[in-house]
Amino acid sequence: MTIDQGIAGMTTQADPTETSSSAELTPEAQPREMVFDVADLSVFYGSYRAVRDVNFKVLRNEITSFIGPSGCGKSTVLRCFNRMNDLVDGPRVEGSLRYHGVDLYGETVNPVEVRRRIGMVFQKPNPFPKSIFENVAYGPRIGGIRKKAELDDIVERSLRRAALWDEVKDRLGNSAMGMSGGQQQRLCIARAIAVDPEVILMDEPCSALDPIATARVEDLMREIKSDYTILIVTHNMQQAARVSDATAFYSTEVNPDSDVRTGLLVEFDRTEKIFANPGDERTENYITGRFG
């Protein structure tokens, strides 16, 4: 059954451009709300500029993917969107990163509140060493929901949304650590959904999963994008082509004098444009596999 679903998902995705091209046909008729507006964003570690020249806009209910070679700063930029970089000895951010017009790095912004609205799914599935139920109920509990009935309802809804309910409904009390990697990752998505965020950031969510589990997560992303806005970092170009509406291609530039590598945004456009007719030679080289 799981494989059937996976295959069914793969066949429905046969035309990855369908949804986005129809969206592009009517951009004026239904102007989409802009969720993020990134302008001249640079990320510094001390005086070292790790990423520069990031400019793009993210539209509501779209999937925006970040692609590019390792070390080009995709994840670093993604982690700016929910101030996750603050947790470690944080890099400094210059430029503006506006969320519905509010600068996320403004002085009055509390990162905790940002993260309630902008959830995240990580590269490696990282369920808490607790039961499946407790994993999903964690966020709502933090948010102050105490009533068991309400939590039950949220947990079921979130697990159903993450296409996991049928597999785990009889063992909600079991430890999440006993699940397969793909299940754990969908549990992490359910956990992120449970706090009802507006945006979900995904940092290479499928890189630790096998192709079938990957297909299920991709189905899930297409399924939930009607409710959420998704930003995804991926090493898998096919994945970006399959699921995303818009694509940002990042690359690195080596300063020949100092040998310092800096990541930069090379090109941002609709996904079908990036893959069919890229505007920059570097993008073309990368997606055709001629990247040096």
Binding site: N82, M84, L87, V112, E113, R115, R116, R117, G119, M120, F122, K124, N126, P127, F128, P129, K130, Y138, G139, R141, I142, G143, S175, M177, C188, R191, A192, V195
Partner: protein
Amino acid sequence: MASEVASSSPNQEALREALSGANLQRSRRVRNGAASVAMVVAFLMAAIPLAIMGASVVSKGIGVVLTADWWTKPIPADVGRADLAGNEDLGNLGFGDAADTTDKSVDLGMQPAIVGTLLTVLGASALAIPIGVLGAVYLNEYGRQNRPARFIRFMTDVMVGVPSVVMGVFIYSIWVVARGTDGKSAFAAALALACLMLPIVVRSTEEMLRLVPNSLREASAALGTRRVGTTLRVVLPAALPGITSGALLAVARAAGETAPVVFTIGIVFSTNLSFTGQNTTLSAQIYSQIQNGGSLATSLAWGSAVTLVAMVISLTLAARAISRRLVNK
């Protein structure tokens, strides 16, 4: 095609010879043998005294420990006189006139010291474990590598190495002396043992908190949790088995300490269940009974030693069982 592949290499015999190691240099084989012998000898040198010590403690002490009296009766205050009374020769020499009691068989009980040990260790744990765990949480979750944290970490390392007698003198001078005749108590001993346990608890807890993967902290933070919430709901529960086993090892260490206790606890012969008033512990009894001398006092000391070793081993086994649970998780 397949038939053209040779079934065996022409040099097979040479290869077999080489792989057998027969050509190893003689000196290498000798050095290898010598190292093996040295290691076995070193192991025996470490293990044999331990085995002898264990066997002698158990054989000398197990007799009194396996009686009901040991666990229920007060400590005989007049073991010296009973000893003399039991020794006809000494009695005939006139030493025994004070001990004209015909009751040669005193009850060899140790209940006051068993209770006192549990009481002081419990008190010390109640003081040191919460403070130590909170301190470790500060070091690992908040301070990390900042100046105060590095200073505290350094001072904790120093405190781990401070001889336990110093802790005893410290509490004696600031607590016992200040309170005069009421100074010596189970509480004072608990304070001294807590000083001893605190750095151990801090360091072991910090190690356990460090083992909690950062990805869990990130997962929690990404759901909009403050650091307090992440620490209480994710980090501490994940580290709990390890923290517990580290704390139990500190408890075991404290239970066996003598020096901090003899300064601070006084002496008592009947069970005192209170933190106030003088008390006694197994380790203090070993110390004072051996000084008393005489065969009865000595057997009290050996019995105390067996009891103490049994308590410490139980705690250590509990700690290991708990950390095994952590590994299996």
